[in-house]
Protein backbone atom coordinates (compact mmCIF):
# COMPACT_ATOMS: atom_id res chain seq x y z
CA UNK A 1 0.00 0.00 0.00
CA UNK A 2 2.63 2.48 1.10
CA UNK A 3 4.77 1.56 -1.87
CA UNK A 4 1.89 1.97 -4.25
CA UNK A 5 1.13 5.39 -2.83
CA UNK A 6 4.80 6.30 -3.00
CA UNK A 7 4.70 5.45 -6.69
CA UNK A 8 1.37 6.97 -7.57
CA UNK A 9 1.88 10.35 -5.96
CA UNK A 10 5.03 11.39 -7.77
CA UNK A 11 3.39 10.35 -11.01
CA UNK A 12 0.33 12.39 -10.24
CA UNK A 13 2.36 15.42 -9.24
CA UNK A 14 4.53 15.22 -12.33
CA UNK A 15 1.55 14.67 -14.56
CA UNK A 16 -0.30 17.65 -13.16
CA UNK A 17 2.82 19.74 -13.54
CA UNK A 18 3.02 18.72 -17.18
CA UNK A 19 -0.61 19.55 -17.80
CA UNK A 20 -0.22 22.90 -16.11
CA UNK A 21 2.84 23.51 -18.24
CA UNK A 22 1.06 22.60 -21.47
CA UNK A 23 -1.86 24.82 -20.64
CA UNK A 24 0.12 27.83 -19.53
CA UNK A 25 2.48 27.70 -22.49
CA UNK A 26 -0.64 27.82 -24.59
CA UNK A 27 -2.40 30.45 -22.54
CA UNK A 28 0.48 32.87 -22.09
CA UNK A 29 1.77 32.24 -25.58
CA UNK A 30 5.27 31.50 -24.31
CA UNK A 31 7.71 31.44 -27.25
CA UNK A 32 8.71 27.85 -27.89
CA UNK A 33 12.44 28.58 -27.82
CA UNK A 34 12.00 29.71 -24.24
CA UNK A 35 9.81 26.87 -23.02
CA UNK A 36 8.30 24.46 -25.53
CA UNK A 37 5.04 22.71 -24.70
CA UNK A 38 5.31 19.15 -23.37
CA UNK A 39 3.46 17.83 -26.39
CA UNK A 40 6.11 19.30 -28.68
CA UNK A 41 8.84 17.77 -26.53
CA UNK A 42 7.20 14.38 -26.76
CA UNK A 43 6.97 14.68 -30.52
CA UNK A 44 10.65 15.57 -30.73
CA UNK A 45 11.43 12.56 -28.59
CA UNK A 46 9.44 10.20 -30.76
CA UNK A 47 10.73 11.66 -34.01
CA UNK A 48 14.30 11.09 -32.94
CA UNK A 49 13.85 8.00 -30.85
CA UNK A 50 16.75 5.99 -32.20
CA UNK A 51 19.17 8.85 -31.79
CA UNK A 52 17.97 9.48 -28.26
CA UNK A 53 18.06 5.83 -27.35
CA UNK A 54 21.69 5.51 -28.39
CA UNK A 55 22.62 8.71 -26.55
CA UNK A 56 20.82 7.56 -23.44
CA UNK A 57 22.68 4.27 -23.47
CA UNK A 58 25.99 6.06 -23.87
CA UNK A 59 25.33 8.47 -21.05
CA UNK A 60 23.96 5.77 -18.79
CA UNK A 61 27.01 3.56 -19.29
CA UNK A 62 29.36 6.32 -18.20
CA UNK A 63 27.09 7.30 -15.31
CA UNK A 64 26.95 3.82 -13.90
CA UNK A 65 30.68 3.24 -14.25
CA UNK A 66 31.40 6.56 -12.55
CA UNK A 67 28.93 5.87 -9.78
CA UNK A 68 30.45 2.47 -9.10
CA UNK A 69 33.92 3.98 -9.06
CA UNK A 70 32.71 6.71 -6.71
CA UNK A 71 31.05 4.16 -4.47
CA UNK A 72 34.10 1.98 -4.07
CA UNK A 73 36.61 4.79 -3.81
CA UNK A 74 34.44 6.82 -1.43
CA UNK A 75 33.87 3.88 0.88
CA UNK A 76 37.46 2.78 0.70
CA UNK A 77 38.84 6.23 1.46
CA UNK A 78 36.37 6.77 4.29
CA UNK A 79 37.48 3.45 5.75
CA UNK A 80 41.14 4.35 5.52
CA UNK A 81 40.35 7.68 7.13
CA UNK A 82 38.48 5.97 9.95
CA UNK A 83 41.39 3.60 10.54
CA UNK A 84 44.01 6.33 10.73
CA UNK A 85 43.48 9.89 11.92
CA UNK A 86 46.87 10.74 10.47
CA UNK A 87 45.95 9.46 7.04
CA UNK A 88 42.70 11.38 7.27
CA UNK A 89 44.37 14.63 8.26
CA UNK A 90 46.88 14.20 5.46
CA UNK A 91 44.60 13.26 2.60
CA UNK A 92 41.19 14.74 3.26
CA UNK A 93 42.39 18.16 2.07
CA UNK A 94 43.29 16.66 -1.28
CA UNK A 95 39.79 15.26 -1.61
CA UNK A 96 38.42 18.71 -0.80
CA UNK A 97 40.64 20.26 -3.46
CA UNK A 98 39.42 17.75 -6.00
CA UNK A 99 35.85 18.63 -5.12
CA UNK A 100 36.20 22.38 -5.57
CA UNK A 101 38.31 22.35 -8.72
CA UNK A 102 36.17 23.33 -11.70
CA UNK A 103 35.76 20.52 -14.16
CA UNK A 104 36.52 22.76 -17.16
CA UNK A 105 39.90 23.40 -15.62
CA UNK A 106 40.74 19.75 -14.99
CA UNK A 107 39.20 18.36 -18.14
CA UNK A 108 42.19 19.19 -20.36
CA UNK A 109 44.57 17.70 -17.82
CA UNK A 110 42.50 14.53 -17.56
CA UNK A 111 42.31 14.28 -21.32
CA UNK A 112 46.07 14.61 -21.62
CA UNK A 113 46.62 12.15 -18.83
CA UNK A 114 44.46 9.32 -20.14
CA UNK A 115 45.35 10.09 -23.73
CA UNK A 116 43.06 11.78 -26.23
CA UNK A 117 41.97 8.46 -27.65
CA UNK A 118 40.50 7.20 -24.39
CA UNK A 119 37.67 9.63 -24.26
CA UNK A 120 35.38 7.33 -22.33
CA UNK A 121 37.97 6.87 -19.64
CA UNK A 122 38.25 10.65 -19.35
CA UNK A 123 34.48 10.94 -19.07
CA UNK A 124 34.34 8.37 -16.31
CA UNK A 125 37.11 10.10 -14.38
CA UNK A 126 35.43 13.47 -14.64
CA UNK A 127 32.01 12.12 -13.65
CA UNK A 128 33.67 10.23 -10.82
CA UNK A 129 35.20 13.49 -9.59
CA UNK A 130 31.72 14.95 -9.38
CA UNK A 131 30.19 11.98 -7.58
CA UNK A 132 32.68 10.70 -5.08
CA UNK A 133 32.85 13.44 -2.46
CA UNK A 134 29.34 13.07 -0.98
CA UNK A 135 29.97 9.36 -0.54
CA UNK A 136 33.25 10.04 1.21
CA UNK A 137 31.79 12.70 3.46
CA UNK A 138 28.68 10.77 4.43
CA UNK A 139 30.50 7.48 4.85
CA UNK A 140 32.99 9.21 7.14
CA UNK A 141 30.17 10.65 9.22
CA UNK A 142 28.48 7.26 9.26
CA UNK A 143 31.60 5.51 10.45
CA UNK A 144 31.92 8.05 13.24
CA UNK A 145 28.39 7.32 14.41
CA UNK A 146 29.23 3.79 15.54
CA UNK A 147 27.68 2.86 18.87
CA UNK A 148 30.31 2.86 21.60
CA UNK A 149 29.17 -0.31 23.32
CA UNK A 150 28.95 -2.25 20.06
CA UNK A 151 32.42 -1.06 19.27
CA UNK A 152 33.58 -2.38 22.64
CA UNK A 153 31.88 -5.68 21.92
CA UNK A 154 33.82 -6.12 18.73
CA UNK A 155 37.05 -5.13 20.44
CA UNK A 156 36.35 -7.74 23.07
CA UNK A 157 35.79 -10.45 20.52
CA UNK A 158 39.08 -9.54 18.89
CA UNK A 159 37.30 -8.90 15.61
CA UNK A 160 39.58 -8.34 12.64
CA UNK A 161 39.42 -5.06 10.78
CA UNK A 162 37.53 -6.75 7.99
CA UNK A 163 34.97 -8.23 10.42
CA UNK A 164 34.61 -4.90 12.16
CA UNK A 165 33.98 -3.35 8.79
CA UNK A 166 31.43 -5.65 7.30
CA UNK A 167 29.56 -6.61 10.45
CA UNK A 168 29.65 -3.33 12.38
CA UNK A 169 30.82 -0.30 10.44
CA UNK A 170 29.09 -1.08 7.18
CA UNK A 171 25.59 -1.57 8.62
CA UNK A 172 26.05 1.39 10.96
CA UNK A 173 27.00 3.68 8.12
CA UNK A 174 24.31 2.31 5.83
CA UNK A 175 21.72 5.08 6.39
CA UNK A 176 24.41 7.68 5.73
CA UNK A 177 25.66 5.83 2.68
CA UNK A 178 22.18 5.53 1.25
CA UNK A 179 21.53 9.23 1.72
CA UNK A 180 24.75 9.98 -0.10
CA UNK A 181 23.96 7.55 -2.90
CA UNK A 182 20.82 9.49 -3.66
CA UNK A 183 22.97 12.58 -3.97
CA UNK A 184 25.83 10.94 -5.83
CA UNK A 185 23.57 9.10 -8.24
CA UNK A 186 22.38 12.46 -9.50
CA UNK A 187 25.84 13.93 -9.40
CA UNK A 188 27.31 11.07 -11.41
CA UNK A 189 24.64 11.64 -14.04
CA UNK A 190 25.11 15.37 -14.19
CA UNK A 191 28.86 14.85 -13.95
CA UNK A 192 28.68 12.62 -17.01
CA UNK A 193 26.78 15.27 -18.90
CA UNK A 194 29.26 17.94 -17.92
CA UNK A 195 32.09 15.60 -18.83
CA UNK A 196 30.52 15.07 -22.24
CA UNK A 197 30.32 18.83 -22.62
CA UNK A 198 33.95 19.39 -21.79
CA UNK A 199 35.66 16.23 -22.94
CA UNK A 200 33.25 14.31 -25.14
CA UNK A 201 34.21 13.05 -28.53
CA UNK A 202 32.10 12.81 -31.63
CA UNK A 203 32.37 9.04 -31.56
CA UNK A 204 30.10 8.19 -28.69
CA UNK A 205 27.48 10.87 -28.50
CA UNK A 206 25.75 11.08 -25.16
CA UNK A 207 22.75 13.13 -24.14
CA UNK A 208 24.92 16.21 -23.61
CA UNK A 209 25.59 16.19 -27.30
CA UNK A 210 21.90 16.08 -28.12
CA UNK A 211 21.13 18.88 -25.71
CA UNK A 212 23.95 21.07 -26.89
CA UNK A 213 23.36 20.54 -30.57
CA UNK A 214 19.67 21.20 -30.25
CA UNK A 215 20.32 24.21 -28.03
CA UNK A 216 22.74 25.71 -30.51
CA UNK A 217 20.22 25.34 -33.27
CA UNK A 218 17.46 26.71 -31.10
CA UNK A 219 15.54 23.45 -31.51
CA UNK A 220 14.38 23.88 -27.99
CA UNK A 221 11.85 21.06 -28.02
CA UNK A 222 14.62 18.64 -28.95
CA UNK A 223 16.81 20.07 -26.24
CA UNK A 224 14.05 19.61 -23.70
CA UNK A 225 13.54 16.07 -24.91
CA UNK A 226 17.16 15.45 -23.93
CA UNK A 227 16.58 17.13 -20.59
CA UNK A 228 13.49 14.99 -20.11
CA UNK A 229 15.50 11.83 -20.62
CA UNK A 230 18.04 13.08 -18.12
CA UNK A 231 15.28 13.75 -15.62
CA UNK A 232 13.87 10.28 -16.15
CA UNK A 233 17.24 8.61 -15.66
CA UNK A 234 17.88 10.73 -12.59
CA UNK A 235 14.52 9.77 -11.19
CA UNK A 236 15.07 6.07 -11.83
CA UNK A 237 18.44 6.19 -10.06
CA UNK A 238 16.96 8.14 -7.17
CA UNK A 239 13.97 5.88 -6.65
CA UNK A 240 16.07 2.76 -7.01
CA UNK A 241 18.14 3.96 -4.09
CA UNK A 242 15.03 5.01 -2.17
CA UNK A 243 13.64 1.52 -2.59
CA UNK A 244 16.93 0.05 -1.45
CA UNK A 245 16.84 2.35 1.56
CA UNK A 246 13.33 1.27 2.42
CA UNK A 247 14.25 -2.39 2.15
CA UNK A 248 17.47 -2.16 4.10
CA UNK A 249 16.36 0.08 6.93
CA UNK A 250 12.90 -1.41 7.44
CA UNK A 251 13.84 -3.49 10.45
CA UNK A 252 15.98 -0.95 12.22
CA UNK A 253 13.30 0.69 14.34
Amino acid sequence: MIMRKALALPLVSILSLIILWELSVDYFDVPKFLLPAPSLILCALIDNQELFLQSTINTLTITISALLAALFSGIFLALCFSLSRTFEAAFYPLAVILQVTPIVAVAPLVLIWVGIDNVNRALIIIAWLAAFFPILSNMSAGLKSVDRTLNDLFKLYGASNWQRFHLLLWPTAMPYLLASLKVSGGLALIGTVVAEFVAGSGGAQGLAWRILEAGNRLQTEKMFAGLLLLAIIGMIIFYAFSLLEYRLLKYRR
Partner: protein, 299 residues
Protein backbone atom coordinates in the same frame (compact mmCIF):
# COMPACT_ATOMS: atom_id res chain seq x y z
CA UNK B 1 17.56 55.73 -23.03
CA UNK B 2 20.49 53.34 -23.12
CA UNK B 3 21.30 50.43 -25.34
CA UNK B 4 23.00 47.25 -24.17
CA UNK B 5 25.07 45.53 -26.79
CA UNK B 6 26.03 41.95 -25.97
CA UNK B 7 29.23 40.51 -27.41
CA UNK B 8 30.12 36.83 -27.63
CA UNK B 9 33.26 36.72 -25.50
CA UNK B 10 35.29 38.76 -23.08
CA UNK B 11 36.65 42.00 -24.44
CA UNK B 12 39.13 41.34 -27.24
CA UNK B 13 40.35 42.78 -30.48
CA UNK B 14 37.60 40.99 -32.35
CA UNK B 15 35.22 43.49 -30.73
CA UNK B 16 37.67 46.36 -31.22
CA UNK B 17 35.50 48.53 -33.48
CA UNK B 18 32.68 48.68 -30.98
CA UNK B 19 35.03 49.58 -28.15
CA UNK B 20 36.66 52.21 -30.35
CA UNK B 21 33.29 53.76 -31.08
CA UNK B 22 32.59 53.80 -27.40
CA UNK B 23 36.01 55.15 -26.42
CA UNK B 24 36.08 57.88 -29.06
CA UNK B 25 32.55 59.00 -28.36
CA UNK B 26 31.11 58.02 -31.76
CA UNK B 27 28.06 56.53 -30.11
CA UNK B 28 27.73 59.59 -27.92
CA UNK B 29 27.94 61.82 -30.96
CA UNK B 30 24.96 59.96 -32.40
CA UNK B 31 23.10 60.54 -29.18
CA UNK B 32 23.40 56.94 -28.00
CA UNK B 33 24.22 55.68 -24.55
CA UNK B 34 25.82 52.32 -25.25
CA UNK B 35 26.85 49.68 -22.74
CA UNK B 36 28.91 46.76 -23.99
CA UNK B 37 28.06 43.52 -22.21
CA UNK B 38 30.88 41.03 -22.70
CA UNK B 39 29.88 37.40 -23.17
CA UNK B 40 31.59 34.10 -22.42
CA UNK B 41 31.58 30.40 -23.17
CA UNK B 42 28.10 29.92 -21.77
CA UNK B 43 26.56 33.12 -23.00
CA UNK B 44 23.74 32.20 -25.29
CA UNK B 45 22.98 35.35 -27.24
CA UNK B 46 20.58 33.68 -29.71
CA UNK B 47 18.38 32.30 -26.96
CA UNK B 48 18.49 35.46 -24.91
CA UNK B 49 17.61 37.49 -27.97
CA UNK B 50 14.86 35.09 -28.94
CA UNK B 51 13.37 35.35 -25.47
CA UNK B 52 13.48 39.12 -25.61
CA UNK B 53 16.04 39.44 -22.83
CA UNK B 54 18.44 41.11 -25.28
CA UNK B 55 17.66 43.50 -28.10
CA UNK B 56 20.93 43.74 -29.90
CA UNK B 57 23.88 41.39 -29.85
CA UNK B 58 26.74 39.93 -31.81
CA UNK B 59 26.06 36.92 -34.00
CA UNK B 60 29.31 34.98 -34.05
CA UNK B 61 28.60 33.28 -37.36
CA UNK B 62 26.03 33.12 -40.10
CA UNK B 63 24.45 29.99 -38.69
CA UNK B 64 23.08 31.71 -35.63
CA UNK B 65 20.66 34.10 -37.35
CA UNK B 66 19.54 31.40 -39.78
CA UNK B 67 18.84 28.97 -36.97
CA UNK B 68 16.90 31.67 -35.19
CA UNK B 69 14.87 32.41 -38.25
CA UNK B 70 14.04 28.76 -38.73
CA UNK B 71 13.05 28.53 -35.08
CA UNK B 72 10.60 31.35 -35.69
CA UNK B 73 12.46 34.26 -34.15
CA UNK B 74 12.01 37.48 -36.00
CA UNK B 75 15.60 38.63 -36.15
CA UNK B 76 17.49 40.94 -38.46
CA UNK B 77 21.19 41.22 -39.23
CA UNK B 78 22.24 44.82 -39.79
CA UNK B 79 26.00 44.71 -40.29
CA UNK B 80 28.98 42.36 -40.41
CA UNK B 81 32.26 43.33 -38.81
CA UNK B 82 34.13 40.64 -40.70
CA UNK B 83 33.77 39.69 -44.33
CA UNK B 84 35.75 36.56 -43.67
CA UNK B 85 35.06 34.37 -40.71
CA UNK B 86 38.28 34.33 -38.66
CA UNK B 87 37.79 30.62 -37.86
CA UNK B 88 40.87 28.50 -38.44
CA UNK B 89 42.32 25.11 -37.94
CA UNK B 90 45.78 25.10 -36.43
CA UNK B 91 48.49 22.48 -36.94
CA UNK B 92 51.78 21.79 -35.26
CA UNK B 93 54.63 23.44 -37.21
CA UNK B 94 56.16 20.16 -38.34
CA UNK B 95 52.85 18.73 -39.48
CA UNK B 96 53.11 17.36 -43.04
CA UNK B 97 49.60 18.48 -43.91
CA UNK B 98 49.02 21.94 -45.35
CA UNK B 99 45.41 21.87 -46.49
CA UNK B 100 42.07 20.93 -45.01
CA UNK B 101 41.55 17.78 -47.04
CA UNK B 102 44.70 16.22 -45.62
CA UNK B 103 43.26 16.16 -42.14
CA UNK B 104 40.86 13.26 -42.47
CA UNK B 105 40.95 10.94 -39.51
CA UNK B 106 42.99 13.33 -37.35
CA UNK B 107 41.69 14.21 -33.89
CA UNK B 108 40.41 17.78 -34.03
CA UNK B 109 39.85 19.89 -30.92
CA UNK B 110 36.73 21.83 -31.66
CA UNK B 111 34.40 23.90 -29.52
CA UNK B 112 30.73 23.21 -28.98
CA UNK B 113 29.70 26.27 -30.91
CA UNK B 114 31.75 25.17 -33.90
CA UNK B 115 30.40 21.66 -33.77
CA UNK B 116 26.90 22.98 -34.13
CA UNK B 117 27.89 25.37 -36.89
CA UNK B 118 30.90 24.65 -39.08
CA UNK B 119 31.31 20.99 -38.47
CA UNK B 120 28.70 19.71 -40.94
CA UNK B 121 30.21 21.91 -43.59
CA UNK B 122 33.68 20.55 -42.89
CA UNK B 123 32.41 17.00 -42.79
CA UNK B 124 30.89 17.17 -46.20
CA UNK B 125 33.48 19.41 -47.75
CA UNK B 126 36.58 17.59 -46.51
CA UNK B 127 35.27 14.16 -45.59
CA UNK B 128 35.79 14.47 -41.85
CA UNK B 129 34.09 12.05 -39.45
CA UNK B 130 32.45 12.63 -36.07
CA UNK B 131 34.99 10.29 -34.53
CA UNK B 132 37.64 12.96 -35.04
CA UNK B 133 35.98 15.38 -32.66
CA UNK B 134 37.63 16.20 -29.35
CA UNK B 135 36.09 18.89 -27.21
CA UNK B 136 37.91 22.18 -27.11
CA UNK B 137 37.19 23.77 -23.74
CA UNK B 138 39.32 26.82 -24.22
CA UNK B 139 42.57 25.22 -23.21
CA UNK B 140 45.23 24.57 -25.82
CA UNK B 141 47.14 22.21 -23.57
CA UNK B 142 45.75 18.93 -24.96
CA UNK B 143 46.57 20.04 -28.48
CA UNK B 144 50.02 21.30 -27.53
CA UNK B 145 51.09 18.00 -26.02
CA UNK B 146 49.58 15.84 -28.71
CA UNK B 147 51.51 16.18 -31.96
CA UNK B 148 49.44 15.28 -34.97
CA UNK B 149 46.21 16.68 -33.58
CA UNK B 150 44.37 19.66 -34.99
CA UNK B 151 43.07 22.68 -33.13
CA UNK B 152 40.17 24.92 -33.98
CA UNK B 153 40.43 28.60 -33.17
CA UNK B 154 40.28 32.24 -34.18
CA UNK B 155 43.04 33.46 -36.41
CA UNK B 156 43.44 36.47 -34.19
CA UNK B 157 43.73 34.58 -30.92
CA UNK B 158 44.79 30.94 -30.66
CA UNK B 159 47.92 31.16 -32.83
CA UNK B 160 49.21 33.86 -30.52
CA UNK B 161 48.68 31.68 -27.45
CA UNK B 162 50.45 28.83 -29.20
CA UNK B 163 53.42 31.07 -29.89
CA UNK B 164 53.52 31.97 -26.22
CA UNK B 165 54.03 28.29 -25.56
CA UNK B 166 56.89 28.30 -28.05
CA UNK B 167 55.08 26.89 -31.06
CA UNK B 168 54.41 28.76 -34.26
CA UNK B 169 51.51 26.87 -35.72
CA UNK B 170 50.44 26.37 -39.30
CA UNK B 171 47.18 28.20 -39.80
CA UNK B 172 44.38 27.20 -42.19
CA UNK B 173 41.66 29.83 -42.58
CA UNK B 174 38.16 28.49 -43.29
CA UNK B 175 37.44 31.44 -45.48
CA UNK B 176 40.41 30.65 -47.68
CA UNK B 177 38.96 27.19 -48.28
CA UNK B 178 35.72 28.66 -49.49
CA UNK B 179 33.71 29.04 -46.33
CA UNK B 180 31.18 31.71 -47.30
CA UNK B 181 29.95 33.05 -43.94
CA UNK B 182 30.21 36.43 -42.34
CA UNK B 183 31.31 36.96 -38.79
CA UNK B 184 30.98 39.46 -35.97
CA UNK B 185 27.54 40.47 -37.18
CA UNK B 186 25.19 42.76 -35.34
CA UNK B 187 21.81 41.16 -34.97
CA UNK B 188 18.70 42.89 -33.74
CA UNK B 189 15.37 41.72 -32.51
CA UNK B 190 12.95 42.90 -35.22
CA UNK B 191 10.32 44.18 -32.84
CA UNK B 192 12.98 46.34 -31.27
CA UNK B 193 14.16 47.43 -34.68
CA UNK B 194 10.70 48.52 -35.72
CA UNK B 195 10.37 50.80 -32.73
CA UNK B 196 13.95 52.01 -32.73
CA UNK B 197 15.01 52.21 -36.32
CA UNK B 198 16.78 55.50 -35.75
CA UNK B 199 18.75 54.18 -32.85
CA UNK B 200 19.86 51.06 -34.68
CA UNK B 201 20.84 53.04 -37.74
CA UNK B 202 22.88 55.36 -35.63
CA UNK B 203 24.47 52.41 -33.81
CA UNK B 204 25.54 50.78 -37.05
CA UNK B 205 26.93 53.99 -38.45
CA UNK B 206 28.94 54.68 -35.33
CA UNK B 207 30.16 51.10 -35.11
CA UNK B 208 31.44 51.11 -38.67
CA UNK B 209 33.19 54.36 -37.97
CA UNK B 210 34.69 52.72 -34.90
CA UNK B 211 35.89 49.73 -36.89
CA UNK B 212 37.51 51.84 -39.58
CA UNK B 213 39.19 53.90 -36.94
CA UNK B 214 40.27 50.83 -35.00
CA UNK B 215 41.82 49.04 -37.93
CA UNK B 216 43.21 51.96 -39.90
CA UNK B 217 43.64 54.65 -37.26
CA UNK B 218 44.98 54.57 -33.74
CA UNK B 219 43.50 51.60 -31.83
CA UNK B 220 44.83 52.82 -28.48
CA UNK B 221 41.55 54.19 -27.04
CA UNK B 222 39.68 50.92 -27.62
CA UNK B 223 42.60 48.86 -26.44
CA UNK B 224 42.64 50.76 -23.19
CA UNK B 225 39.00 49.91 -22.61
CA UNK B 226 39.52 46.29 -23.59
CA UNK B 227 42.49 45.89 -21.29
CA UNK B 228 40.45 47.37 -18.48
CA UNK B 229 37.47 45.11 -19.10
CA UNK B 230 39.56 41.99 -19.52
CA UNK B 231 42.51 41.68 -17.14
CA UNK B 232 43.82 38.64 -18.97
CA UNK B 233 44.19 40.56 -22.22
CA UNK B 234 47.65 41.83 -23.17
CA UNK B 235 48.78 44.64 -25.47
CA UNK B 236 50.85 42.12 -27.40
CA UNK B 237 47.85 39.96 -28.16
CA UNK B 238 45.83 42.99 -29.19
CA UNK B 239 48.41 44.17 -31.68
CA UNK B 240 48.83 40.63 -32.97
CA UNK B 241 45.11 40.36 -33.49
CA UNK B 242 44.77 43.71 -35.24
CA UNK B 243 47.63 42.78 -37.48
CA UNK B 244 46.06 39.43 -38.40
CA UNK B 245 42.69 41.00 -39.10
CA UNK B 246 44.31 43.59 -41.32
CA UNK B 247 46.81 41.44 -43.16
CA UNK B 248 44.39 38.61 -43.89
CA UNK B 249 41.69 40.99 -44.96
CA UNK B 250 39.29 39.64 -42.43
CA UNK B 251 37.32 42.86 -42.27
CA UNK B 252 37.45 43.40 -46.05
CA UNK B 253 38.09 46.74 -47.65
CA UNK B 254 37.95 49.96 -45.73
CA UNK B 255 35.26 51.25 -48.07
CA UNK B 256 32.92 48.32 -47.74
CA UNK B 257 33.53 47.57 -44.07
CA UNK B 258 30.40 46.33 -42.40
CA UNK B 259 28.52 45.55 -45.60
CA UNK B 260 26.81 42.31 -46.60
CA UNK B 261 25.67 40.95 -49.92
CA UNK B 262 22.33 39.30 -50.46
CA UNK B 263 23.81 36.86 -52.95
CA UNK B 264 26.42 35.74 -50.51
CA UNK B 265 23.78 35.06 -47.88
CA UNK B 266 21.81 33.09 -50.39
CA UNK B 267 24.87 31.14 -51.46
CA UNK B 268 25.67 30.41 -47.87
CA UNK B 269 22.18 29.25 -47.15
CA UNK B 270 21.96 27.08 -50.21
CA UNK B 271 25.22 25.36 -49.45
CA UNK B 272 24.46 24.81 -45.80
CA UNK B 273 20.89 23.70 -46.25
CA UNK B 274 22.01 21.22 -48.86
CA UNK B 275 24.46 19.84 -46.33
CA UNK B 276 21.71 19.59 -43.76
CA UNK B 277 23.59 22.01 -41.51
CA UNK B 278 20.48 24.19 -41.29
CA UNK B 279 16.78 23.63 -41.74
CA UNK B 280 15.25 23.83 -45.17
CA UNK B 281 12.67 26.36 -46.22
CA UNK B 282 14.10 29.55 -44.76
CA UNK B 283 14.18 32.76 -46.71
CA UNK B 284 17.44 34.46 -45.76
CA UNK B 285 16.28 37.67 -47.33
CA UNK B 286 14.15 38.06 -44.24
CA UNK B 287 17.34 38.52 -42.24
CA UNK B 288 18.35 41.64 -44.02
CA UNK B 289 17.11 45.21 -43.85
CA UNK B 290 17.99 46.67 -47.26
CA UNK B 291 18.06 50.39 -46.62
CA UNK B 292 18.74 50.76 -42.94
CA UNK B 293 22.12 52.26 -43.77
CA UNK B 294 22.35 53.05 -47.46
CA UNK B 295 24.84 50.91 -49.34
CA UNK B 296 25.48 48.46 -46.53
CA UNK B 297 23.36 45.73 -48.08
CA UNK B 298 23.98 45.11 -51.77
CA UNK B 299 23.21 42.36 -54.23
Amino acid sequence: DGITFATDWKAQAEHGGFYQALANGYYQAEGLKVTIRPGGPGSDNPRLLAAGALDIAIASNSFQPINMLSAGVDVKVVMASFQKDPQILMLHPDDPADSFDQLQGRPIFISDAAIAAFWPWMKSKFGYKDQQIRKYTYSLAPWLVNKGTVQEGYVSSEPFSARQAGITPKVLLFADAGYPGYSGMVMVNNSYLKDNRQTVTAFVRASIKGWIDYLYGDPAPANKLILHDNPEMTPELLSFAINEIRSRGIAGDKETLGSMSVTRWETFYKEMSNLGAVEKGVNVNNLLVPDLVPGLIHD
